[in-house]
Amino acid sequence: MADTVLSIRDLKKTFGALKATDGVSIDLRPGEIHALIGPNGAGKTTLIHQISGSIKPDSGSVHFLGEDVSRLGVAARARRGLGRSFQISSLAPEFSALRNVMLAVQSRQGSSFRFFGPVMADKSLTEPAMAMLERTGLAARAQVPAAALSHGERRQLEIAIALALGSKAFLFDEPMAGMGPEGSKALTAFLDTLRHEAPILLVEHDMDAVFALADRISVLVYGRIIASGTVDEIRNDPEVRRAYLGEAS
């Protein structure tokens, strides 16, 4: 436990008759990128939701930084440093990119019950937020409402927000989706450096990115982890090839 940042034990979740999560255990160690792959509908997003707190599992536990966070809500887990991005971008659409990041900065400062003092003139909010936009390559788009950003830019913005939260672990749900090859390449390079800041649980369909980045890969099929190992182990696992990679590669 000492050198796992995030540790999920035996999570189970059913939707009616469907076992969306069927006894999943997975962990995240400092400095690593742990990729979670699997076919459509395997239960990857459902798992991310349970880790971040937006779906309550039927059973099982989530430990984060040595603390049992299983009973905590989304906001409480985020404040402890669980930063996530959404498969379908989830932003404040009317707010500019900058204001979206400022919201995370203000949350980190624990100061959402201040009723006076205009935020746009508050350098302790705008400057860190701007720095995160610069790091994610969105500085030029700072004043654009989130609703007017491209799909790829929204994903970058979600990552900027997770950075601004000072996350101690990242949960990214298909951050490459909707990005062109250029964007994917740039994001791959960025995530490669980001892992040293905080480990990443990466759900991704882009196999080039997964194979380039992952320290470990877990394969989820029908709510179960059927294999877990290094890139080479997963590539050569016959069951994985049959269940998942078979047709794809």
């Binding site: 971040s52 937006s54 809500g73 989304v74 906001a75 409480a76 985020a78 404040r79 996530r84 959404f86 989830s90 932003l91 404040a92 659409p93 009317e94 707010f95 500019s96 900058l98 204001r99 979206n100 400022m102 919201l103 995370a104 203000q106 949350s107 980190r108 100061s111 959402s112 019950f113 201040r114 009723f115 006076f116 003092g117 205009p118 935020v119 746009m120 508050d122 909010l125 004043q143 409402p145 927000i161 939260l165």
Partner: protein, 332 residues
Amino acid sequence: MRDGQAMSRETLINILLAAALLALPFVAIAMEEPFYITLATRMAILALAAVGLNIALGLGGLISFGHAAFFGIGGYVAGIFASHAFNMEPMFSAPFEFSGSDQMPVIWLAAMLVSVFVAIPIGAISLRTSGVYFIMITLAFAQMIYYFAISWPAYGGEDGLSIITRNGFPGVNTANPLSFFLLCYGVLAVALLMFWLIQNSRFGAALQAGRQNEQRLAAVGIAPFRIRLVAFAISAAITGLAGALFADLNRFVSPSMLSWHMSGELIVLIILGGTARLFGPVAGAVLFVLFEFALGGITEHWQFFLGLILLGVVLFARGGLIGLVAGKARHG
């Protein structure tokens, strides 16, 4: 950067509205039509009530169909305090003896405190729901308070409660209609300043983000429930304060201040004027009282025409009057 032109146009129309409302009673005096002073005061007070609701509804997206509860509570605080003070009979004697008050500062403070005191349990329960359930639960609470007022004979029940002489304010002759108007106008100005500060503050950022996307707010570590509960309480306090002034304007308070019609009227004011816009409630109240006065003089069915206008606003001018004139709101 902000859209300078649209911003300045909105600022301009805000200044015009503020000036027009302030000028109205002076025009009334010049025309020797004192009733227009009452009209202007009514506009200011309804605007104040709607500024309160605009915090919950406009900034927070919380469609409270129960704000008449706070409006009425403020009214009853004014009425009950005044009647005890007038009859010099104690309201309660423990832990200290209290015989009401005929002083507005005391009444206002009490109206706001009681409103907050009631808003917290109502909010704590209704904010666990959303959408149409939230609308219905807030309505249900307000209706409970309405029926309670009707069936409580001590303070007039169905007949309501008169305020024999308008409550006082240190250094102001409140019996003078112009002085009372200026007092209400001043309170409205302070409330608008508060709204503006809140809108641009960290709290306001969280509140507005929660309206746009609750999931996002939670994902950055801010629990939407607490933010909304506090907003609901602030909102109730301002609407309650408006209720106290309304009772003093009419020198009368009755259960109709608590009725769902009143809640609906406040929502209508905001939609007419421009949801979440600083001066939306002012524009809405001015329009509403003008319609009521102008159309009400011609036909009993003026609300039918109000309905048509409302339909037009919802279909063609989502931003209300302010949005129509000043364009879409921008959030820096």
